[in-house]
Symmetry: C2
Subunit: 808 residues, 2 copies
């Protein structure tokens, strides 16, 4: 049991480290040399090129900020972060980012009134109740417990205040959730409606195309859709299995990097040509000239790549039973995506195509039959991971209980008894250890999701987030509560009756409040402050700058804007909602800590989204239903645990009153799911038809076909030289020419990239490692012609960007 | 504990009563006077008119069978029931009936090999194991227990035989389930493909049409679908809230019945005019002439009906926000039914329209907003019903334990100790009491389902079946096992740990085998034999015949063919699957009883379906997914209970082996759901398109529109005289005429029923109480032109019917 003093030490440490991070950030971000680390988004958006103020200033001024006045306004990023309106953020960073920020606003909306209410009502009720009653005398009493529900006498009528408050909190939370769900849903629909013509609006991904003997996949797709969607079918794009080729491309890039590095080294030090050994990792073997060696290796590899490319284009087996089928209208695509095509429901599975840059190409090659088996295996292993990861966590948690540690290892007593070390160990270590544990986890979960076989990056991230949420719920939340008190195994937990489980958890919840307060400070306060510092990208950028960068273009490549890692941030955010709702009635002192987190994190992420992050895809807030349902789950958990807690307080006569609440909450969830979720899953025909009609009819099918023809080509094929790209297209046309009806009208200008025939500017194809397109595609521009109640103003970003250029 | 002797007595009683029923049936069915009770299906199919052989025979011969030779072949209905092929049954009675019979075939397919295997392997293993081990010495040992798993010593290695057998049984059951699911799914698709043009193939029911101010519902529907389905929308039919009018119609019919009765009475006894009193139920008040009284009442009522009818047609409020929207092609309807229409997912909800005769009109008037609340209320009350119904059952079950009863009420001892009475009480009463209890239940559950607001009779029956299944599972199966052994309450059950529950149930399962054997004999054997006798319809028919029937047409009306009551028969059938699978490894002696049930019930229901039942609707085997998933649930329960049972046998080291089985079974279920269920829920576009193309293109839209125009009119409007029917139609046309585009071409011949302009014969509108159309509609005829591997032969029903006409 940590005492108030421990909490004080922990708070001091965390607040100090947060301030240190902020100071470091304030210092580093105004150095011109770090500009690409802290403002990459503006480079990508085209608002900045080169270092600001690089013209007409000395060599030092290029790297270090010499205007000392700016050093004294080190927190001025905060008001700046708040300046941009939501509509501008959508325009600037996409709807995903804007909706992500809404989660923090939702948190503030829920917890500001809840905190006030809980502190004002519950603290007097809890404190005045008199003596503190404990189930076990051997546990150390902390001062925080005196403010919590533990201080209320059993059988007291005061518990009705807690129950009443839980009703109020549930009601308020549901109101806020409803309002927010409705707001985000309308934001999404408006966003989709305001988008200009996009390839995925007309396209459906068809999986499990049956292999007919004597017919190519392309032929069967053409035949099937011409038959079953005669009025709307336009064309389709076959998917090549280019995984092996992509591997070669990655290898070539790696070698190219080494070559660049060595060439740069040679340029700087022309006396000595760099050498390396030919053996494994350059550790042994014959000494050779590095530049020659890498040039030769690249040459060999490029020959292999040419062969492989030939093979892909010629071999019919490299065409996967997957196709991107495009329609003449959005209506046609909406119809095809939502209906069952074939008699056999496992064939011709249609679904909306993800954005081209959102597609996870490698998984398209997974044979459909193996998908269900993969899902089974992954769900079993997630279960194993969630439940057997608990053992190491339990060990680390045991450190928090120093009395226990001293008993186990008495020789450590002299060290532990030192006052500072004890406070440090009890206040800081448990949270940090847990955080380190969790650091490698998202990568594992993402690999698991990839094995599961989802075909878009956005769904992969959502699946990883779900897994991570289960993990956090069981291991961080439940695991901390249960192992922290009794070090019981999952096994003994299973042997309790279903009504006993909420009791054992409920009774130990108030005791773990101090642990979670520490956790919030470490993970929420210091962790978020560390996020704004971007230490890792900073170091990597400068390393790259030192060893690889030759031109401005190289420097742009070395820039790593990163993105909001939904797979990690969403579940951790949901943990804060859970903690807030569970402790609102039990230990209301915890709430202000959560409020500070929400406010601070909101500012930090708003700043990062505006200045740093660059989302790799746009899913139009597709994650919101998960956010909503997990907050509902948190509510249900809070209600259940309070029931369990009151059960141990012999206030059993009040539990029937509490039993109604989960039913009502669940019903609310059911209603919301029914009311809003279709907006995130389906595309209403009304919407599609309206958008079809609104589009100028002057745009002929021909134009559309040209526009769509390469949209869903594997991005590595874009790295071909122009001549080869034509080859792919000609090859496709030949294949289509065999299918009579529509292929007569072949797309024009085979030597020009087809994108130029449409109104949108050509995507940047030059960089071969660009698996994802470049961001802030003009197609995403907010369209002011669409009616909306946004008070949309003409973009005044230049003013905004001006603030930054003001710096010397 | 019932002994072997008790079982013998019970078996004797049940076999005797079954034989008595069969003899009575054999005697009654060959009496010409009962012909309409035992062969109504043939009258409805038009194969018989009037009593057979009524021409050229004496007055007695008209009522009593005088050909004594036929009395000696009293079981000859059995081979006759097997003669008709499955394709003929589909043609004769519809796919629902044919699929229903497949359940019995599935039962036989599963249990014949399982019975052989279990008896041959397990009985030697169980018997040879030596002494019988008991947990409690005070329980009486029955001989049947010696053949069961109870007889195996704890920690014996023999339990691996049981586990291996459960693996084999699970594997075999899954194979059979897969085969049958695939067979029924293809049967369904073939049936749908072979159907001729049907109104519901082109029609979608739209619910929650938003009320626009200044626009009628009809206008908004027209506007919306012309906009969003411009190429396929044909027309729509508004739905009138005629519930009040329907009530008046029912009242008129009741009065008409009384009038008929009194007139007949007067005809037979012309001296005395029948009189009645005017007061409540004719019990007091002024004495009046009955015929005049009823004539007057009917007159008054008809005036009110005319007023009400006027009101419905004129008042725009009586048009509900529901419409039947028809399309030009099946493809268009399939698209509309499967897609989301509106931005707001709670508006414009589309779904396939049920068959006109399947629609439960009254629920169409339920406002959509109240549906979710209704569902919540009903699910809570089903829970209450399922769990608090247990108390009376527990009391009845206590009778089965006579030792317990004697202890409680020692004064009953002399009566109970009488040998016959004891056997009777122990063998017969528990099953019978339970059966009586269950008799009123389906009606309650159906009312609950109606409150839930489903709009088709078939879905109402499926929902009732689900509720009934939960009831049977908890109260009959679990309730018998738990209360039978320890009279524990649900409460104490809740306080056990989740791993403890299968143990307490598992350990008492072998002891309840005798109870379930009795239950199978009472409910399965005697009950099914009683089903074929049709005692209730027999009595009612003869009463009606005596008091109401004047003409042949009246006699046809008095005939009540009934139908397979899916809401009751499906869940009870599923109980047999559950019993069979649970006891297969525990007490294999129970299996032959189940086998006899399946075989006998198959014969009886096949006979009834051919000769008696007349399904009110055709859902094309839509209930099969439920049948499948509940057998899977039975498998899971069997596996779980065996795990619990082995847990008490200290064979815990073998349980991990058993734990894999539920996972595999669940996975199998998941696969089947994915593979086959869409065939029962959706209508693939491929199918729709093929059928659209196959239909002669000569049929113009005009024809189709005329064909559809009245298909979904509330059936009570069909009872209007011709003039009034025209009025409705004209009224509709006027409303449609305001909507420019398509209403120019108004349907021709307003004075002729529009059905005559299509190729199908006119439905029978004359009888006003015919809420459901007449059966064996020619539209259902099997179409031999559709390719199928049925070896379809031209109908030879006359030969078949000849057998019956052979009887004098």
């Amino acid at each position: 049991m940590a005492t108030l003093e421990d909490i004080g030490v922990s708070a001091a440490i965390n607040i100090l480290s947060a301030f240190a991070f902020l100071l470091a950030f304030a210092f580093l971000r105004i150095q011109p040399i770090n500009d690409r680390v802290y403002f990459p988004k503006w480079y990508l958006a085209g608002a900045r090129t080169g270092s600001p103020g690089s013209a007409g200033r000395g060599v030092i001024g290029k790297f270090v900020n010499l205007n000392f006045a700016t050093y004294f306004t080190f927190l001025n990023w905060m008001p700046q972060a708040l300046k941009m309106s939501e509509a501008e953020i959508i325009n600037h960073a996409g709807l995903d980012s804007a909706a992500f920020l809404r989660i923090y606003i939702l948190g503030l909306n829920i917890f500001v009134p809840v905190t006030l209410l809980a502190l004002l009502i519950l603290i007097p009720v809890n404190v005045s109740s008199g003596t503190l009653f404990f189930l076990r005398k051997d546990l150390v009493v902390s001062d925080i417990d005196k403010l919590s529900i533990s201080n209320v006498r059993p059988k007291s009528n005061r518990f009705f205040v807690h129950i009443g408050l839980l009703y109020a909190i549930t009601f308020w939370t549901c109101c806020m959730l409803y309002k927010e769900y409705s707001y985000v849903a309308s934001m999404r629909l408006r966003f989709l409606a305001s988008q200009q013509r996009r390839a995925e609006q007309f396209t459906v991904v068809v999986r499990n195309v049956p292999r007919a003997s004597g017919k190519s996949t392309s032929d069967s797709v053409d035949h099937f859709f011409q038959k079953n969607h005669p009025d709307t079918y336009l064309c389709h794009q076959a998917v090549y299995n280019a995984n092996k080729f992509a591997k070669l491309v990655r290898k070539r890039d790696r070698l190219q990097n080494w070559l660049d590095y060595n060439q740069l080294k040679y340029e700087r030090n022309p006396e000595k040509r760099p050498t390396r050994k030919t053996g494994f990792l350059g550790l042994w073997g014959k000494q050779v000239d590095s530049i020659e060696y890498y040039k030769h290796q690249i040459n060999v590899l490029e020959k292999r790549m040419a062969l492989e490319r030939q093979k892909i284009l010629k071999d019919s087996k490299s065409i996967l039973p997957v196709a991107f089928v495009s329609f003449k209208s959005r209506w046609g695509a909406a119809v095809c995506a939502q209906t069952q095509q074939s008699r056999n429901p496992t064939l011709w599975l249609t679904n909306w195509a993800p954005e081209p840059r959102d597609i996870y190409w490698r998984n398209l090659a997974i044979p459909f039959v193996s998908l269900t088996i993969r899902k089974l295996i992954i769900s079993v292993s997630v279960f194993a991971l969630v439940f057997f990861y608990m053992i190491p966590i339990a060990f680390v948690q045991s450190l928090a209980n120093l009395e226990g540690l001293e008993r186990v290892a008495p020789f450590l007593r002299p060290v532990i008894e030192l006052h500072i070390i004890k406070s440090f160990l009890q206040g800081f270590l448990p949270g940090l250890a847990l955080k380190v544990f969790l650091y490698i986890l998202p990568a594992i979960l993402m690999i698991m999701s990839k094995i599961e076989g989802f075909i878009s990056v956005s769904s992969l991230e959502r699946r990883s987030a779900a897994k991570y949420y289960y993990f956090i719920l069981v291991n961080v939340f439940l695991g901390s509560i249960i192992t922290g008190t009794a070090f019981q195994q999952l096994d003994s937990f299973l042997h309790q009756s279903p009504t006993e489980i909420p009791r054992t958890i409920g009774v130990s919840i108030p005791m773990k409040a101090t642990f979670f307060i520490t956790y919030i400070m470490v993970d929420g306060w210091a962790g978020v402050a560390a996020e704004i510092l971007r230490l890792k990208p900073l170091v990597i950028f400068h390393l790259k700058n030192l060893f690889l960068v030759k031109t401005e273009r190289d420097r742009a490549k070395a820039m790593d804007p990163g993105s909001v890692a939904f797979a990690e941030t969403l579940p951790s955010l949901q943990l804060y909602f859970l903690l807030g709702l569970v402790y609102a009635v039990v230990t209301p002192v915890l709430l202000p800590f959560i409020l500070v987190f929400f406010a601070f994190a909101f500012l930090v992420y708003r700043h990062q989204i505006i200045n740093v992050y660059n989302q790799r895809y746009e899913s139009a807030a597709a994650f919101w239903p998960h956010v909503h349902s997990r907050i509902i789950a948190s509510l249900l958990i809070a209600q259940l645990l309070l029931m369990g807690l009151l059960g141990t307080k012999k206030a059993a006569n009040s539990t029937p009153l509490l039993a109604i609440l989960p039913i009502l909450t669940f019903y609310f969830h059911h209603y919301c799911k029914h009311r809003f979720e279709p907006a995130f899953r389906k595309y209403p025909l009304e919407e599609a038809m309206a958008k079809d009609l609104a589009e100028t009819t002057a745009d002929s099918d021909q134009n559309l076909k040209a526009y769509l023809s390469d949209a869903f080509l594997h991005p590595i094929f874009h790295s071909f030289e122009e001549q080869e790209l034509v080859e792919v297209r000609v090859d496709k046309q030949q294949r289509q020419a065999t299918n009579a009806q529509i292929s007569e009208v072949s797309p024009p200008s085979p030597l020009q990239p087809v994108h130029q025939s449409s109104s949108s500017p050509p995507p940047q194809h030059e960089e071969h490692e660009d698996i994802y397109y470049q961001p802030s595609n003009p197609q995403y521009q907010y369209d002011p012609s669409v009616p909306s109640h946004y008070t949309y103003q003409p973009p005044h970003f230049p003013h905004y960007a001006y603030h930054y250029q003001d710096q010397p």
